[in-house]
Symmetry: C2
Subunit: 357 residues, 2 copies
C-alpha cells in the first residue's frame, strides 16, 4: 500500500504527456516561443495550466543553465545594522535601481561565521557578489573570493584583482578639516566611526589605531591629520573619540556631549559621518551652544537628512546612490568593463559651520 509521499510535483514530463508532445516542445513553449508554432505553443501552455504545472522549476533551471539572475550583496556588519545606516540605504537604493532595470534580483546575505556550518555565502545561488565596505582580512571576503564568481568591491580598493568603486576618503576628509581651519578654528575635535568591530566607544589612542581593520575611518583620519599638519596645528591637542554610528542607543549624542564639556571646549568638530555629526548638533542644542556661532560641525557623506535639518549640515558630499548604481552596473554589465572607479567628492558648505570667534 502506497502513501502519497511528497506530493510529487508536476514536471515538464507530465505536461508533455498530457499534451501529447515531447518534453523539448514543452520547454520550448516556455522559453523559446520562436521554436514552435503559435498554435502549438498556446495548446501546450493551456494544457500546462490545466494540469496545474507551475512553470519550469527555478532550481533545476539554474542547475542546467548555470545562471540565476541574482546578485548577492554582502555587508560588513549585520544586515540589521545596514538598515539603520542611511549611507548603506542610499547605496542599496542605487543597487536596486540597476537590478530592477536588469530584472535581476538582489540577495542580501548574512555573514554568520560563528560555527563551522556552511555559511550563507557558500550556499548562495548567485551570479556574482558585491561586497560592501568589509574589513580586508574578513573571513567573509575570503569566502566570497573562494566562490570564484564575479565580484565588485565597494569602498574597498585594496583587494587585488577585484574591481571596486570608492572615493578618496583621505582627500575628502582633508577638505573637511581644511574648511574648518580656514574658518580660523584651532580647537578641533574628531568624532570617529568605529575602527574595529568591537563596539568600543571612547577615546582613541595610537595603540587602537594599530589594530584598526576598517580602512575608511583610518583614511578619513589621515585626511584630517593631513590638513592639521599642513596648518601647523598641534595634532596631540586634538581629541579623537570613537563611536560606532549605527548603535541604536544614542551613543553618538553622549560622546558629543562629553566632548563639548571638556576644557578648553572645541570650537570645531569633525565628524566622520553625518549620523555622528547630527548627534553632535543635538548635543550642542542640549548644551545651549549655538551652531555655528559657538560651535562649527562638519560631517561626511551628505545623507539626505543633512540638508534638511536645522541648522543644515556642512559636509562632504559623496555620490552614495551612484556608488550602488555603478557597482551593480559593473557586475551586471559588459564583462569588458570590469574596472575600478573612483568617484568625486565635494565640500558642501551649509549652516553648521562658520568662522571661529
Amino acid at each position: 500500500m502506497k502513501h502519497d509521499k511528497t506530493p510529487k510535483s508536476i514536471t515538464l514530463w507530465d505536461v508533455a504527456k498530457a499534451a501529447g508532445v515531447s518534453r523539448t516542445t514543452v520547454s520550448n513553449a516556455f522559453n523559446r516561443p520562436d521554436q514552435l508554432s503559435e498554435e502549438l505553443r498556446d495548446r501546450v501552455l493551456t494544457v500546462a495550466k490545466e494540469i496545474g504545472y507551475l512553470g519550469p522549476n527555478p532550481m533545476a533551471r539554474m542547475l542546467r543553465t548555470g545562471r540565476t539572475g541574482v546578485i548577492g550583496l554582502v555587508f560588513s556588519e549585520s544586515l540589521q545594522y545596514a538598515f539603520n545606516d542611511p549611507v548603506a540605504i542610499a547605496f542599496l537604493q542605487g543597487v536596486s535601481r540597476v537590478c530592477e532595470q536588469a530584472k535581476a534580483s538582489l540577495m542580501l546575505i548574512p555573514t554568520h561565521l560563528n560555527d563551522a556550518a556552511p555559511t550563507a555565502i557558500q550556499q548562495a545561488a548567485v551570479d556574482g557578489f558585491i561586497i560592501y565596505s568589509m574589513p580586508d582580512n574578513s573571513e567573509a571576503v575570503a569566502q566570497v573570493l573562494a566562490r570564484k564568481l564575479p565580484v565588485v568591491a565597494v569602498d574597498q580598493p585594496s583587494l587585488k584583482g577585484v574591481p571596486s568603486v570608492y572615493i578618496d576618503d583621505r582627500l575628502a576628509a582633508r577638505k573637511a578639516a581644511a574648511h574648518l581651519i580656514s574658518l580660523n578654528h584651532k580647537q578641533l575635535a574628531i568624532i570617529a566611526m568605529d575602527f574595529l568591530s568591537d563596539s568600543y566607544v571612547g577615546p582613541v589612542d595610537i595603540q587602537r589605531l594599530k589594530y584598526a581593520t576598517f580602512q575608511i575611518p583610518l583614511q578619513r583620519l589621515k585626511g584630517y591629520k593631513d590638513a592639521i599638519q599642513e596648518a601647523s596645528l598641534d595634532p596631540s591637542k586634538i581629541a579623537i573619540v570613537e563611536c560606532p554610528p549605527r548603535n541604536s542607543e544614542d551613543d553618538g549624542f553622549e560622546v558629543a556631549l562629553s566632548l563639548l564639556q571638556q576644557h578648553p571646549r572645541p570650537t570645531g568638530i569633525l565628524a566622520m559621518c553625518d549620523v555622528l555629526a547630527i548627534s553632535a548638533i543635538r548635543a550642542a542644542a542640549r548644551l545651549n551652544l549655538a551652531v555655528p556661532q559657538d560651535l562649527s560641525i562638519v560631517g561626511f557623506d551628505d545623507i539626505p537628512l543633512a540638508s534638511q535639518i536645522k541648522p543644515s549640515l556642512t559636509t562632504i558630499q559623496q555620490p552614495l546612490i551612484e556608488k550602488g548604481v555603478i557597482a551593480a552596473s559593473i557586475l551586471l554589465g559588459n564583462p569588458s568593463r570590469k574596472m575600478s572607479k573612483v568617484l568625486e567628492t565635494k565640500l558642501m558648505v551649509r549652516e553648521s559651520s562658520g568662522p571661529a570667534f
Copy 2:
C-alpha cells in the same frame, strides 16, 4: 582539435577520485561530519582544497534537497522606492533580524511585469515569500500565489488562506482624528497617501476613491471619517489631498503649502504617514505658522525621525520593526504557527499637536 570549452568545474566526483573514496563520503565530509571519522574527513577536505574544489554547488544542492535557505520579499512599488520609505526600511530591519538569526538569506524581488517574459517572481529560488503591502488585484500577488510556496502577507489581511501581519488601520486613524477633535479642532484637512499607483497628486473625490486599489489609505481615511462623524463635524468641509509619500520631488511640501494657504485655513492636519506629516511641518515653518499654536499636525507610523524633529511629531505608533520580525518568523518558523497576527497601535502625543485657539 579540441578547445577548452567551459572550464569544466570540479565536482564531488573529482574529489572522490583524487581522495580514493566514494562521492557519498565526500558529500558527507561536507554536510554530515558525524558520518565519518574525523581523520578521513580532514583528508577529504584537504584533497578537496588541493584540487581546487569550491564546495558543493549551491544550485545542484538546492535541486536535490528542494530547499534554498532564502526567503523572497516582494514589494508593491519598485525596490528603489522602498528604500526611500522609512516605514519599509524599518520593516526590512525586522525581517533581516530574523533572517540573520535563522541564517536565511533575503531576496529582494523586483516586480517587473511589463512584457511576457518570465518574471523574477516566477524564477526566484526561494523557500517562501513575504508580500509587503501590495494591491490585492496585483498580478505580482497572483504570481506569488501561483508558486504554491509558503506566503506571508503584510498589511494585507484580505488574501484568503494567507497568514498576514497587520494593524487595524481604521481604528488607529480614528484615534488620530479623535485626538485632534478632542483638542477642539474643527477645521481639519487630510493629507492622504496614494490610493492608486498612478502618481497622482491633488484633491481626492469620491470617484477616485472608487478606483482605489491600496487598502491602507482607504482604511485610514475611513478611520478619520469615523471620528469626524462621531463628532458630528461636516465631512464635506474637510479637504482631502493625495500625495504619494515616496516621491523624490518634494510633493508633500507643496501639497501642504497649498493646503495651508486655503481659506479658511485648517487648524489641524491629519497626515496618513509621518513622511507627509513632516513635510507639512516644514511647510508650516515656511509660512511662519507656529506648530502647534497655529497648526496641529498628527502623523501615522511613528518612524524614528518623528520623535527627533522639532517640534516632535504627534503620531500613531505602529510596531514597524516587529511587523518584519513576526512576518519572517511566521515564514521561517514552525508551520503549525502559521496564523495571522494583528498588532497594536498607540497614539503618541508629542509637540506637534495642541489645543485649537
